[in-house]
């Protein structure tokens, strides 16, 4: 145990002391808020500096009147198509919209001319506007007053409450659950890949620099392997904790700063477009209730468990692969059995688990140890029956023990083998060898 501890210390310090670790750890969290900040800033600047764009409209139906917005103004000056084209070419108009005689049931041939390619925003804006106008016109022609339609338009928001066996009611929100599952799953996936690779590189380095034979004359190969896996896990956790603290602080600072910069009106607009036209007080209460409904402790504990469990299980496999090969390029052939379940879990998280956490596929993905670390995080925020969680965790522990045992067998022999390119068959032989 003492020796494992020595190895853990070495692996941890050798990585944490590196300048590159310090750089990546400190800069990565700066990058996201920085990018976010730049985008918001550009968007705000653009809004301020944008001049009004005038668009000429030729409506051969004499039916449509398009309201001008902050960005676009529409002029109806009865020009001919040729005159309008000229206006666009000499820059007096940003573009022109030609609405030929159309059949309201299937409007065809509406064309936009512009000197530059129109952006999606403008086209969407025009399409939506025309759609509304045509619909209104058709309602009017069928004898219905569009005002009535506006009056009967209703906004429906479903509040969802989960009932558990004890009859406790919890307000839940699918979007928040989705976001939590999404983030947790991706983090675990990335962590396994990045740090798993570090384990592999470390093992290959010790093997190719021929230091390993000296080491195993002082401690058991298994101690060396576990020390490395645990030491690198500690590096990952350190990095994660620093990131969480830094991102938390920076995001608060950046959004706080931008919040002060943003003119009141724009802030209101952004808020209202996100949350619907108006938000009665009861809804605000629901949101607070919902946030308190998320079992933070359970999610955090599960995250830590699956984060470490998944890493340890895959970490052993990465160590096994590293021990079998002489150079990272040779490792490629053995990576498939490791990457495939990880990618299945990752895809499964998006395709099945987050959309329907209680489907059969989601259930199995979150139970099978190779996929559960990623898939289960997609379910936890929605609430998982205790028995399923226990089963999944138990199997993950078994999975970890199994891969560690397997990797230990390969590692022990692999680290002393040089110059041979092992195949799956040789690996199998090593696993079967007793000593």
């Amino acid at each position: 145990m003492d020796k494992i501890w020595l190895v853990i210390q070495r692996e941890y310090l050798a990585r944490v002391k590196k300048k590159s670790f310090l750089l990546v750890t400190l800069l990565t969290p700066l990058i996201f808020p920085a990018i976010m900040g730049v985008f918001v800033w550009i968007a705000l600047e653009e809004k301020d500096n944008q001049s009004l764009r005038i668009i000429e409209v030729i409506d051969e139906n004499k039916l449509f009147f398009l309201e001008s917005s902050d960005q676009y103004a529409f002029s109806f000056s009865n020009t001919t198509v040729e005159e309008a084209k000229e206006l666009v070419q000499n820059g007096e108009r940003y573009g022109f919209l030609l609405i030929p005689k159309i059949d309201l049931k299937s409007p065809m041939g509406i064309t936009y001319y512009g000197e530059e390619n129109p952006n999606m925003n403008l086209i969407n804006y025009l399409e939506n506007n025309l759609k509304k106008k045509i619909e209104e016109q058709r309602l009017f022609e069928s004898g219905i007053d569009p005002k009535i339609i506006n009056d009967v338009r209703t906004k429906v928001a479903i509040k969802s409450i989960t009932l558990d066996d004890q009859g406790t009611e919890t307000v839940s929100d699918a979007t928040v659950n989705y976001a939590i599952g999404f983030l947790a799953g991706i983090l675990i996936y990335m962590f396994i890949f990045i740090y798993g690779n570090q384990i592999m590189q470390g093992v290959i380095e010790e093997k190719s620099s021929r230091i390993v034979e000296i080491l195993v004359s002082s401690l058991k190969p298994f101690q060396l392997m576990m020390g490395k896996i645990l030491g690198i896990a500690a590096v990952g956790l350190t990095q994660l904790i620093i990131w969480i603290l830094l991102i938390g602080t920076l995001t608060t600072v950046v959004t706080g700063f931008l919040g002060m910069q943003m003119p009141q009106q724009q802030a209101m607009e952004m808020a209202s477009s996100d949350l619907g036209q108006s938000m009665p007080n009861s809804e605000l209460g629901d949101i607070l209730q919902m946030l308190s409904g998320i079992n933070v402790t359970e999610i955090v504990l599960c995250f830590i468990f699956y984060f470490l469990g998944g890493y340890l299980m895959y970490g052993a496999l990465f160590a096994g692969i590293g021990s079998a090969v002489d150079a990272p390029s040779d490792a490629q052939q053995f990576m498939l059995p490791v990457t495939i379940p990880l990618i299945v879990a990752y895809m499964g998280l998006f395709v099945f688990v987050l959309n329907d956490p209680n489907s059969t596929t989601s259930f199995w993905l979150s139970i099978i140890p190779l996929t559960s670390p990623i898939a289960m995080m997609g379910r936890v925020s929605y609430g998982v029956p205790g028995i399923e969680l226990a089963l999944s965790m138990g199997l993950l522990i078994l999975g970890f023990l199994a891969t560690t045992w397997l990797a230990g067998k390969i590692y022990r022999i692999g680290i002393l083998m040089h110059g041979t390119k092992p195949t799956y068959k040789t690996l199998w032989k090593w696993i079967k060898t007793n000593n």
């Binding site: 020796k3 020595l6 230091i211 034979e213 000296i214 002082s218 040089h418």
Partner: protein, 297 residues
């Protein structure tokens, strides 16, 4: 110090060691000889508990080999290296602690050795910044840092330049003076004759020879004499293939069942005997001869 009884090990179908017996007494330098692939490294790895044997037993000072003996053995493998990005100091502390030394003990011993091999100024340098010779000194110190009573050196001079090889050779002799038992595995015979008190030769998984250098050499006397005759009075038979140099003739003759005196007496009829000396084989010759013999038979 070390006793090995009927040690066997095979990898799948390949025999690496079959029924090897060895005894190494305390305070000597023991040469473990054999061509590449003979089973030397396997034997050494088993003594170091890196791999397990299939059968047979090993005793250190009369005790059956156990994990606690790790601290009593210093091992310099043939395939060796250091962490390139680690400093000399950190690296040595790590190795010393892995061998069970306390932090305080490790520090004083490392300082002693760094001074002794004159690399104290390089403590904080990373291995990748050292010259090859200096890295090899660091490697050697890492092997002996815990004062092991048994030192196992696998091809210790390979990769060393002559100056450093000399330094290391003297250190090995100094350790022997202090009572350390050294097992030296090599196929370079000149260092064997120079350093070893006893040798054992392994070929194709079997021990084919052992004993002191003198014993080995005397058991391999080919009973051939090197002769020089001057002032010829009778023509020397052509089949002796003598080489003439001025008036002297040089050639070798086997005893062919005669005693040396009988042979000498016969030779005196041809002229004046200037030289009559038994040809003693070098370890190199014995080595090659034995390897060939065991391969043919």
């Amino acid at each position: 110090m070390l006793k090995i009884e009927k040690l066997s090990k095979s990898y799948n179908a390949t025999k690496a060691l079959s029924d090897v017996d060895l005894e190494v007494s305390k305070g000597i330098i023991f040469g473990l000889l054999g061509p590449n692939g003979a089973g030397k490294t396997t034997l050494i790895r088993i003594i170091n508990q890196i791999i397990d044997s299939d059968s047979g037993s090993i005793f250190i000072n009369g005790e059956l080999l156990a994990p606690k003996h790790i601290a009593q053995i210093g091992y310099l493998p043939e395939e060796r290296g250091l962490y390139k990005k680690m400093s000399v100091w950190d690296q040595m502390i790590y190795f010393a602690r892995l061998k069970g030394l306390s932090s305080v003990d490790a520090k004083s011993k490392i300082n002693h050795w760094l001074d002794r091999l004159e690399i104290s100024n390089w403590k904080q340098k990373k291995i990748e910044d050292l010259s090859k010779g200096m890295a090899q000194k660091v490697q050697f110190i890492s092997t002996v840092i815990h004062n092991p009573p048994l030192l196992i050196l696998d091809e210790p001079f390979s990769g060393f330049d002559p100056v450093n090889a000399e330094i290391i050779k003297n250190e090995i002799l100094a350790l022997k003076e202090k009572g350390t038992t050294v097992i030296l595995s090599t196929h370079r015979m000149e260092s064997v004759e120079l350093l070893c008190d006893q040798v054992a030769m392994i070929n194709r998984s079997k021990k084919i020879l052992d004993g002191t250098i003198k014993q080995v050499k005397s058991s391999f006397r080919p009973e051939v004499y090197s002769i020089t005759i001057d002032h010829l009075v009778q023509m020397i038979p052509k089949e002796w293939a003598a080489k003439q140099e001025d008036s002297s003739f040089h050639f070798t003759l086997p005893l062919s069942g005669k005693t040396p005196n009988q042979l000498l007496h016969e030779l005196m009829e041809y002229g004046e005997i200037m030289k009559f000396q038994e040809v003693i084989p070098s370890m190199e010759e014995i080595f090659i001869h034995q390897v060939k013999a065991s391969e043919n038979g």
